[in-house]
Amino acid sequence: MADRILLAHGSGGLENQCLIRDIFVAGFENHILSTMDDAAVVNIGTLAVSTDSYTVDPLFFSGGDIGKLAVAGTTNDVSMRGARPLYLTVAFIIEEGFEIDLLKKIVASMASELQTIGVQVITGDTKVVPKGAVDKIIINTTGIGELVCDCAVSHIQTGDQLIVSGPIAEHGACIFAAREEISVHGLRSDCRSLWPGIESLLNKKLHIHAMRDATRGGLSAVLNEWAEQSHHLIHIVENQVPISTPVSGFCEMLGIDPFTLACEGTFVLSVAEQDCQSTLEVLHQAGYPHAALIGTVMEKHAHPHVILQSDYGTERLMEYPSGEILPRIC
């Protein structure tokens, strides 16, 4: 096999077959995929389905890579709906000339992440586009899961306690620093699959009203969306929100608000008050030692928003992220 992706690899001919068989079917090996039929046939109950496309620069970063991200990101969205992720579809759009070794590394990383959550790739597609038409590689994945517990924004209620599963802004800070070639000690993406932790939570039958992973737009996007969609005021205590020292220092240096930076393995839960403590305990034991109670869902409001209270008692809005991330200039 050549060492770079050629346009022929996407043409539907022999090279295309080799690529599918030697890299994808071999990498994602399972009996549904290896039938290589036109469509996969699966049989499950009430479905939760989510799709997302991934492009990230750099492709490999501290704590993960585009492959791990494409598996974790989509299956996390399925998990957040209270569903057990079972299957994944994968489509690659690859720039002509992409190194085959890199593709193999990406597929291996996807396969290992799939294994940790017990998810199978059941169908896929590959397109190769001329040089310059995409930046190296784009991966689209669609996750399919079976509903276990109906978690949704519409279930959020006054008095719910808000919990975040771990330190925020880790992925965003790591990628931002890598892209700007700023090296800061201790920045590492939090990219991980959330299902194993979620499964332990759901098994306990706790009153979890809503869950959302704080991806693009970070914690602030989740809380502002929840306020808006549920019409409730949300109150957050700033010093309860876990942020690692390297991340807060990095954000401080560049004038970026850590609340608006993406996480890829950290989520927010809205939990009935009586189950708050148990939820924290389960999370602490399920691999989220820094999970913390950060605030409360308040009354309904005509202009729902998120109030951030400082350690010394002042209040301000937790702003909704918008526009490009720009550094301060003076």
């Binding site: 010093n239 220092g249 010394y312 209040e315 301000r316 918008s322 301060r328 200039i329």
Partner: protein, 374 residues
Amino acid sequence: MGSQPLTTDKLYSGYRNPDIIRAYSHKIHQAAQDLDRPVNIMEVCGGHTFSIVKYGLDQLVPDSIRFIHGPGCPVCVLPQHRIDASIALASMEDTILVTLGDMIKIPGSRTSLQHARAEGRDVRFVYTPLDAIKIATENPHKKVIYFAIGFETTTPMTALLIEQSRQLKVNNLFFHINHVLVPPAIELILQQGGHIDAFIGPGHVTTITGTGIYEPFALQHHKPVVISGFEPIDVLDAVLKILLQLCDNKAIVENCYSRSAKPEGNLKAQALVSKYFETREDFIWRGIGTIENSAMKLRDEYVEIDAEQQFSRYCPRATQEKTSGCLCGQILMGHAQPKDCALFGKGCTPSSPQGSCMVSNEGACAAYYRYRRY
């Protein structure tokens, strides 16, 4: 930036300690009670405006103390015709316009750099001016124009950029200079602005210039000036020192930012600035009007790199500003607060700003919109 990993945990620890903040708040309440009259404090610098609004420092002082947000946001004070010039320069053939982040959204008389970029102009934003050299050397067949903005703080960085580009013999890099000066703006506010009792002086500017530039405001106008950093404790410390001066009927320049700002300032930076720049006769400040001797320009001997001279036909002359109800000018002069503007949060938001105070992080309207709009 350098390849040495940075450790960042010491950047601000200690300046946000809640117990110390509460103790300051208590002392400020006591001093305000002793003084027993309303006090208007202008924070000149947009960085201070941002800190006050973001950290809610106004909630920690009694109602008798009002913060008046001053003109110290470099993007906010740029007049429309200079924004128009940046867009026109970016539209020249084979040209790359390089500038700092906040310039992107600021509306000129018709459009913004953001729109110009979307229409295919090559507009690039850098974190540090020195990146302009890299862009210029990577694009030897293009004209690269560095659109320089900022107060005394950023002028030395532009001077250093010029110095290095000359040493490296980069001959396709030009400069459009929009550096402005703090003291003439304060002077104008004292003559024509709203009533101000004292000033919080800009820490970063003072680090470069030294404390001497504020002496006339204390000596001649009898206004306390306290130079401060940007953390909550810095600003509260400055407020307390101002109140104590007022209680003693004193007016002196005090430096509470001595960890960075020395009395004489940064002499090397000052020398570099005066090597390349001289004062302009006058400069139009957005919403405020013409202020004499309030900005810098390149010295005549550098005419060959001065974009205003080399591409003068692309740089429109000053015209009447279109304001359409925007109160920016009055806010910058201390006559109004963001929420006094009928457009605030309605016709004017950070995603479609009607005035420059809504654009930059340091603009008063943007700070209120982000942190206090309800």
